[in-house]
């Protein structure tokens, strides 16, 4: 109870949007940026320092800073350039800022983990993608209310509005829930802005992880950055695009549907495509690769021709296709995230998150002409060095992927992988989340790795990267970073730390020692015996009857339950799509705790409690 109260108080403070002290000793970590309509200002959200930074691109200097809420991730500029809107992903709010005075005006409510944001100026509506909520908030600027929620894809994260404001498109970073070991399915959610309804869900087959998207000014062409995971084929090697396909989804009237096109090459991959921008004259598009630290320049005429060609459907897995439309790759700073063009399209700005800087690219020449530092400590901590390694794809064969391609924004990817090096189709594993795992050894679902250096070092280079990986000091730094990944705020605890009646009842179920008929429950079948301690794990291996014939051992590492609500699917192989299925489908013999005497309502209570952990 005391743990819940403290946590609730912490989250209540977060909800107030108060910046955490000691900002000057943190790294800015620019995540998103937007350009003012006159092109004279660049507005950059810095998720590391909880601020919006105004940049003078001509002087290449910082023009002002505005404290916002916790971990801001998105920024939008009103069409008239007078207002700025920043999503605060850990505060579940949007900060409205006067662009002239750089003063925060008001704080608007949003959903769980608001991330991307776009504005429909004509109707005075903000569209905010809520990552944990999996929906998009339609915030009415006149009333300041989160007036409507539309369901988007799981992990809804990025938004783009058409130039005429009639349509809004939303992407999401986790694939939508589906059958076990089925191809991952994602979508681009199209919103009819006039009627405020979902107009269509454009299917992205075999896609998991969709990031920024951009629309041409005439609204006829859209491009979204995406990944095509190869999680269903055994990861026996990396060459031939075996782990992930770094690609784009091209959609709109110009191509007559949705076409997936690769950005990778046979031996040189374009890892973790993230930011997208389309030139005003529709001649070129730009895509950042946040894993390989570069920006690709695409020829849109050739791109559309490829997307409309008879062989378009087969190009998604063709590593020689990008030569048809990629003109160049430009090296930029570390971990480039969002990109934005100047109003005329002559300059491209790139937010290099792990360099705390903005790259300025001359689009006519295709070269970086300058950089703007956003400040931050000059010295790198071990955690920061490790974070750079975590987000870099320069260790895997061909630079195909890094830790962050599967642990998206240091979380997970919602996928199950066939990683087993010794045989195919066995030991299928669900990707585990990384929040606050420092105290939860051993690692790996079978507990095979005693510590993070073992997990991230020899095992990773031998069976994932298939190339020289993290060693020595690099490995220590990486492990340090992984251990420092914090828990995201839990949205299900009351601000005062109390439990709701349902959560209280669920807690009683979680801690019960007798069945409803009074029969004692053996120790090892009581929830809180195995799921004990600060992380709700006893750090042991246990057979709870969920092993599959294709698993080499039925013993499973007891997983931590902190923030378990965010990390569906469940069980070691991801076969339970929901918490409820753990007991209703996968616990027929009460081997995974006694649950078969519980009613549907009692299981619901248990779930309500688990959501608070």
């Amino acid at each position: 109870m005391r743990f819940g109260i403290v946590a609730g108080m912490v989250f209540a403070l977060l909800l107030l949007g108060q910046p955490v002290p000691d900002v000057k000793n943190r790294y800015p970590s620019p995540d998103d940026l937007a350009v003012s309509p006159d092109g004279k200002r660049l507005f950059v959200v810095c998720s590391g320092t909880d601020e919006l930074v105004a940049v003078d691109p001509l002087a290449k200097s910082v023009a002002g800073r505005v404290p916002v809420g916790r971990v801001p991730r998105g920024v939008a500029v009103s069409p008239d350039g007078t207002r700025l809107y920043v999503t605060n992903s850990w505060s579940d709010t949007v900060t409205e800022i006067d662009a002239g005075s750089l003063k925060a005006i008001r704080t608007l409510p949003a959903g769980f983990e608001p991330t991307g944001i776009a504005m429909d100026g004509r109707r005075g509506t903000l569209y905010v993608a809520n990552r944990i909520g999996g929906d998009v908030s339609l915030i009415d600027l006149e009333s300041g209310q989160d007036a409507r929620r539309l369901p988007a894809g799981r992990g809804a994260s990025y938004v783009s509005a058409s130039a005429d404001g009639s349509r809004v498109f939303v992407t999401h970073i986790y694939p939508n829930p589906g059958k076990w070991r089925a191809e991952p399915e994602s979508e681009i959610t199209e919103v009819d802005a006039e009627h405020r309804i979902v107009a269509s869900r454009m299917r992205l087959h075999n896609v998991g992880g969709v990031f920024h998207l951009a629309l041409s000014r005439d609204g006829r062409l859209g491009i979204a950055a995406q990944m095509r995971p190869k999680n269903l084929v055994p990861l026996a090697h990396v060459e031939h695009g075996w782990a992930l396909g770094n690609s784009i989804a091209v959609f709109g009237d110009d191509v007559g549907g949705v076409v997936q096109l690769p950005l990778d090459e046979i031996e040189s991959y374009f890892s973790l495509p993230f930011g997208v921008a389309i030139a005003p004259d529709k001649s070129k598009a730009y895509v950042s690769a946040s894993g390989t630290d570069e920006v690709a320049i695409l020829d849109l005429r050739r791109l559309v021709a490829a997307a409309r060609s008879p062989e378009a459907a087969g190009l998604a897995n063709d590593l020689s296709a990008s030569a048809k439309y990629v003109l160049a790759r430009i090296p930029v700073g570390r971990n480039p995230r969002s990109i934005a063009l100047s109003p005329g399209g002559g300059t491209l700005y790139v937010a290099n998150r792990l360099d705390d800087a903005i790259s300025i690219v001359d689009t006519a020449r295709g070269v970086v002409t300058g950089s703007v530092s956003l400040g931050g400590p000059a010295a790198l901590t071990a955690e920061r060095r490790g974070e750079r390694l975590f987000y870099s794809s320069k260790y895997a064969w061909g630079n195909q992927f890094g830790c962050a391609n599967c642990h998206l924004d240091s979380t997970f990817d919602g996928l199950q992988w066939d990683l087993e090096p010794d045989g195919f189709g066995i030991d299928i594993v669900d990707n585990r989340q990384l929040e606050d795992i420092g105290g939860t050894p051993p690692y790996k679902w079978n507990g095979g790795n005693p510590d993070l250096p073992t997990e991230c070092g020899p095992r990773t280079e031998r069976y994932f990267f298939r190339s020289q990986g993290f060693r020595g000091g690099d490995l220590e730094d990486l492990a340090q970073y992984v251990m420092s990944i914090p828990l995201r705020p839990n949205r299900y605890r009351l601000p005062n730390g109390d439990l709701t009646p349902a959560q209280e009842r669920g807690k009683d179920v979680f801690e019960r020692t007798r069945k409803k008929d009074g029969t004692p429950i053996p120790d090892m079948l009581q929830c809180f015996v195995c799921h004990s301690g600060p992380y709700y794990t006893n750090l042991q291996l246990t057979d709870v009857g969920t092993g599959k014939p294709t698993d080499r051992s039925p013993k499973i590492d007891v997983p931590q339950l902190t923030n378990v609500v965010y990390s569906a699917p469940y069980l070691h192989d991801g076969s339970a799509r929901t918490l409820e299925e753990i007991w209703t489908v996968f616990n027929p013999n009460d081997q995974h705790g006694v649950s078969n005497d519980l009613t549907k309502d009692e299981l619901n209570d248990l779930i309500e409690y688990l959501k608070t952990l």
Binding site: P234, E267, G423, I426, Q468
Partner: protein, 448 residues
């Protein structure tokens, strides 16, 4: 080898004359703007002789180090020295050399400045074309009259390990930045094709799998492109392209390997006519101009190698369990191919090869509806896959043989799909049926 023995000391004299001639010639030209380099000068250079089991330098050869106006034999005292490879720190060089005409070529290493050569290999046949690996080992080619093999050896010495397990003719070319060893393999008909293999012998495959024209003397440059000789010209493989592409090159007959001075500026062997000797020229692609910098009298100047530090390739972390005797091979869709398959595919048959070269059936397995199959095959033996129609007739047979190492886990997208084809993300039906491979381990062709 016999011819060399007969030439005896006359070749020594010729080699000395070549070196002396180069020294005289050097004084007459402008100081080169290229960094220090090594090259091989040889009265006779027969780059394809190894395909017939003969010596590429039948009249001896001399490795020369050039730094500005300074030039000297890299390793005096050898009957022949060639095949230079510079260490990643630019301080040392590997090379192949033999003390006497009748002796065997061995791998040697020396410091480039003031070095005393140290013998690395102890081969009972010729060991040539050594290359540095980033993990402190050296890979080289062991040649003999009947064929050649690629081997690997710790620089400090030790037992060599074989990387090639199909009888044939191999020649090491380069170590790619991704850690793979690039080599030439002359298959049926003698056409050389570029292949790659990891330093533990796994993952052997054609670099582009296009069964194209003869390709040799390949080297990777800083852009990642692989530049090679093909049909008397240079050509390239680029990461973005599945097909061979042209490169800008001087008139005449250039020969690989090229040494990259800067982007678009290469030091290369070049001759004006097919019968003339090779000299070394600096080629500038931007100006389309060449400048000859080495033209030793009565000899060829070939095999340029810059003496400069460079970024080492990535190390390859091997996962092999060498005590095993078999590997697993999964094909996702045997029906997927760049070229048409001559019929319906319902089964796969795997062959090995007898000591005499005759195909020996290891076993046969069904191909699933989605084209997948999963088999276990013996390690370190020649392997070839053949697709069968419902009547048991072969509708597609691999042209070349390949091998798998002990415990190697290998997956192919299709039969002849090419490296540009990434897999479709789908659980192969064969793994839904069973995760146990069909065993084809050579026990009288019995299958399970």
């Amino acid at each position: 080898m016999t011819v060399l023995a007969r030439l005896g000391s006359r070749v020594w004299i010729a080699a000395a004359a070549v070196a002396a001639g180069a020294l005289v010639w050097a004084a007459t030209v402008d100081a080169p703007t290229v960094p220090p380099y090594l090259f091989t000068s040889a009265p006779r250079y027969e780059p394809q002789a190894w395909l017939a089991g003969r010596d590429r330098f039948p009249s001896g050869a001399v490795l020369t180090f050039v730094s500005g106006q300074r030039r000297r034999p890299l390793a005096p005292g050898f009957y022949a020295s060639a095949d230079p490879a510079v260490s990643f720190d630019g301080a040392r060089a590997l090379f192949a050399a033999k003390r006497e005409a009748a002796g065997h070529w061995q791998v040697w290493e020396t410091a480039i400045e003031n070095g005393v050569p140290r013998q690395v290999s102890a081969c009972d046949s010729d060991c040539v074309r050594p290359l540095y690996l980033p993990d402190g080992r050296v890979v080289y080619t062991r040649t003999a009259a009947q064929g050649s093999e690629i081997e690997i050896l710790p620089l400090a010495g030790g037992k060599p390990e074989r990387l090639t397990f199909v009888p044939g003719r191999y020649m090491t070319d380069d170590v790619l930045r991704d850690g793979r060893i690039l080599f030439e393999y002359a298959g049926q008909g003698g056409t050389r094709e570029l292949f790659t293999v990891y330093p533990d012998g796994t993952g052997v495959e054609s670099l582009r799998c296009d069964h194209g024209p003869d390709r040799s003397e390949a080297r990777q440059i800083s852009s990642g492109d692989v530049i090679f000789s093909s049909g008397g010209h240079l050509a390239r493989f680029a990461s973005a392209l599945a097909a061979q592409a042209d490169v800008a090159q001087p008139r005449g007959e250039p020969a690989g390997p090229v040494a990259e001075i800067a982007a678009g500026s290469w030091l290369m062997a070049l001759r004006r006519g097919p019968a003339g000797p090779f000299g070394l020229s600096v080629w500038n692609a931007a100006t389309a101009q060449t400048r000859e910098i080495e033209a030793p009298r009565g000899a060829n100047a070939v095999q340029p190698a810059l003496v400069a530090a460079r970024v080492p390739p990535r190390e390859f972390p091997s996962a092999l369990v060498t005590t095993r005797t078999a590997g697993n091979l999964l094909c996702l869709n045997a029906r997927q191919s760049k070229t048409p398959i001559a019929g319906e595919v319902s089964a796969v048959r795997v062959y090995t090869r007898s000591a005499g070269g005759a195909p020996v059936v290891l076993g046969q397995a069904a191909v699933e509806r989605d084209g997948s199959f999963y088999v276990q095959v013996p390690a370190d033996q020649p392997l070839r896959v053949e697709l069968l129609d419902p009547a048991g007739r072969a509708v597609r047979a691999e042209r070349d043989w390949f091998w798998m190492r002990p415990s190697e886990q290998r997956i192919c997208v299709g039969c002849h799909a090419g490296p540009e084809r990434a897999p479709e993300n789908k659980v192969p039906e064969v793994l839904l049926r069973s995760t146990v491979p069909v065993k084809m381990l050579g026990d009288a062709g019995r299958t399970q």
